[in-house]
């Protein structure tokens, strides 16, 4: 095969099957193909959220390729995978945060129980009250701690009286494990807290509107190990009352907090299964390569 021929083959590959390109990107040199169909058990009975054949495009680039998975009630699902694999993009589809990006286009069906998330008639405000989000970098509002937590209930009119609001704020801060640390200075600025406290404040702010699902986009990536441990403990407690989807870079974290784990690779969902199974008996070579640290 001369060089011109090779180029042709390569270009054909680019145009015809992006998965071959995916393989070109791999650092291992092993002959690993992304499977046609997700390996493992991506579906559960009676799910809280049901996603089928989700494709996401940024302009002409496709970021998510036909992902189908379920998130069960009161379960913690971890989305893992190397950088740029689309896990955050997928997470942000679940409460339509991608709407704000003009060039972003979402295809497929996404349901929260029986509600089509991308139904044009659905008000995105209502959706986001049901599906809350915690971001990578702690982003408290430049307001007092109290106002940070009270913001959501206020805009949705969840509390009519000051005492009701006080109660919501206290409960949310208690659930986020922050009450004892801040109860004496609720009027001081939320931005004056430490990084870990700020992130717990953001979690308190999210659960103050009593969402059904909480989406977490690498909530610990900006935190030190002790703050991380606190947040992880918090996630386990929260899973008793909320359904949680968490994107994480740390496989240990996924193993510690989640019941089920989904492994994304270059926009494809390669494997999804019980967390134990994914980490002890991965069924796909790509998953195995990733969790054993051969690339990432």
């Amino acid at each position: 095969m001369d060089i011109a021929e090779k180029m042709n083959v390569f270009q054909d590959a680019v145009q015809v099957d992006p998965r071959v390109v995916a393989q070109e990107h791999m650092m291992t040199g092993e002959n690993l193909y992304i499977p046609e169909k997700t390996v493992g058990a991506p579906f559960v009975d009676d799910p809280k959220m049901r996603m089928r054949d989700v494709n996401v495009f940024y302009g002409a680039d496709q970021a998510i390729h036909g992902v189908s998975l379920d998130i069960g009630k009161n379960e913690v699902v971890a989305l893992i995978g190397p950088s740029g694999c689309g896990k955050s993009t997928f997470l942000r589809c679940m409460n339509r945060m991608n709407d704000t990006i003009d060039i972003c286009r979402v295809e497929g069906s996404l349901h929260l129980e029986n509600q089509d998330i991308y139904d044009p008639k659905l008000d995105v405000v209502e959706l986001r009250a049901r599906v809350g989000m915690v971001f990578q970098k702690p982003n408290p509002f430049p307001k007092s701690i109290y106002d940070n937590v009270a913001y959501g209930p206020r805009i949705h009119g969840l509390a009519n009286r000051k005492t009701d609001l006080d109660e919501i704020v206290e409960n949310s801060l208690r659930k986020a494990g922050l009450w004892d640390e801040v109860k004496d200075r609720l009027d001081s600025a939320g931005t004056g807290l430490s990084g870990g406290q700020q992130q717990r404040l953001c979690i308190a702010r999210t659960i103050a509107v009593s969402p059904e699902v909480v989406l977490m986009d690498e909530p610990c990536s900006a935190l030190d190990p002790i703050a991380t441990a606190k947040i992880e403990e918090l996630i386990r407690e929260l899973s008793e009352s909320y359904t949680i989807a968490i994107v994480t870079h740390s496989m240990q974290q996924a193993a510690r907090v989640s019941q089920r784990t989904a492994y994304f690779h270059l926009g494809w969902l390669v494997e999804m299964n019980d967390t134990d199974t994914v980490f002890t008996k991965p069924q796909h070579e790509l998953t195995e390569s990733y969790i054993t640290g051969r690339f990432g």
């Binding site: 945060m97 704000t100 702010r205």
Partner: protein
């Protein structure tokens, strides 16, 4: 010693030299800037400080009914036509008894400002019992006599006073019958043909009303345009086109806005000439792009994490903008607004076009009264031939600069104080 270390040491001296050279360039540039500023200020202050005080002369004024041609000081008509100058003239002749002949007497009378007559009338109106009495009064000198006293020995020879007048002034000065006092009329009167009676209050009020109109229009419109363009406008060719044209608008020479104002506001809409309302409208057009551009920059600087946090909680677009973006962007917007206002305050060219360059003596009472503004007043006085107007020009510039520096300082202080960290 490794090869690398050796190599590093060799180049080190050169690198430090380059750094020192670079620093020297910077210090040079700043020094030139400061020097220019210093030169400007010393020149203006050196010329202008004399306008802030004025000389008056002590005269024995007798409110003689015959000379005044007034027998009843309560009769307003008589008061209005009273011959006050005759009284002043008599007082001067009493002080210098040897002066004979029409020419000489006229030269003597010319030493005192015509404003003295107005003052006597005012006194008589307020206290009619003065009629027939004699008082020692400090009366304002004419601008030439005033300038003569303000000048140094060497410059007095070139003063616009005749030799005889100079002798009289020297005599008054030696016997302490003249004194310097604060120039009240500078801050309490409008323009005048007589320099000693001219003031900048008219121009200050004109500037104030013009700025009021400009601020009331350009800030809300500019902020609204910036918010719409940043937050709500779809990104397409049309909005790109708008953006390019806003930047074009910022580059349009200001006199063009004056021509536009003349054609549209005065020609088409039939608004009156020379009024602060039209001036404000024209300056609004001129400052709009500045405010829009700085407001957009301020909105862009609001961290996206704050928007995402609010949207993630289910805040609507409107709530995100009103509760987070605007409060966080406000310091930047205000800074842009104040700088735009300062720009408008110093603007002359477009206002010449809409007739705010007229000679107006009355103080404007509102945005619909004919008025002039500070920089135009500077322009008017600078083109007047009287020697005193040269110092008045510098004084007006000093006042204008004080306002501009205050506004710019306010912008800096506001940015420092309102700036929030997140």
């Amino acid at each position: 010693m490794s090869v690398t270390t050796e190599q590093v040491r060799k180049t080190l001296a050169r690198r430090y030299r380059a750094e020192k050279r670079f620093k020297a360039y910077g210090i040079c540039a700043i020094s030139i800037g400061l020097l220019a500023l210093l030169l400007l200020f010393t020149d203006i202050i050196g010329k202008g400080y004399r306008a802030f005080y004025e000389y008056s002369v002590a005269l024995q004024i007798t409110f003689d009914p015959e000379s005044l041609e007034i027998d009843d000081p309560r009769d307003l008509e008589q008061l209005q036509y009273g011959n006050y100058e005759a009284v002043v003239r008599e007082a001067l002749q009493a002080r210098f008894p040897g002066v004979e002949g029409r020419e000489d007497r006229r030269a003597l009378a010319a030493l005192v400002s015509t404003a003295a007559g107005y003052r006597l009338r005012e006194m008589l109106e307020n206290s009619p019992e003065l009629l027939g009495q004699t008082r020692t009064l400090w009366l304002q000198l004419n601008d030439d006599a005033d300038m003569f006293l303000k000048s140094s020995e060497a410059k007095r020879k070139t003063a616009r006073l005749s030799d005889q007048q100079q002798t009289w002034m020297l005599e008054l000065e030696q016997s302490d019958e003249v004194r310097a006092g604060f120039n009240h009329s500078l801050f309490t009167r409008g323009d005048s043909r007589e320099p000693e009676q001219a003031g900048i209050l008219g121009a200050i009020l004109g500037s104030f009303f013009t700025m009021l109109v400009t601020l009331a229009l350009s800030f809300p419109i500019g902020v609204a345009a910036a918010v719409y363009l940043e937050e709500f406008a779809p990104k397409n060719r049309f909005t790109d086109f708008i953006e390019v044209n806003i930047n074009n608008l910022a580059a349009v020479p200001s006199i063009i806005f004056g021509l536009l104002g003349l054609a549209v506001f005065i020609g088409l809409f039939g608004m009156p000439r020379s009024v602060p309302l039209v001036g404000g409208l024209v300056l609004t057009l001129m400052t709009l792009p500045t405010i829009i551009i700085s407001s957009r920059a301020a909105i862009k600087a609001v961290p996206p994490s704050i928007r995402q946090a609010a949207m993630g909680l289910g805040a609507s677009k409107m709530q995100v903008v009103l509760q987070f973006v605007l409060p966080l962007a406000l310091p930047g917007m205000l800074t842009g607004g104040i700088i735009g206002m300062a720009q408008a305050l110093g603007e002359t060219a477009p206002l010449l076009m809409i007739g705010m360059v007229a000679f107006i003596v009355e103080l404007p009472a509102g945005a619909m009264d004919a008025a002039t503004v500070l920089p135009v007043q500077v322009f008017l006085w600078a083109s007047s031939p009287e020697q005193s107007f040269v110092t008045m020009t510098s004084a007006a510039i000093m006042v204008l600069m004080t306002f501009l520096i205050t506004m710019n300082t306010m912008a800096v202080v506001m940015r420092k104080r309102l700036e929030r960290r997140w």
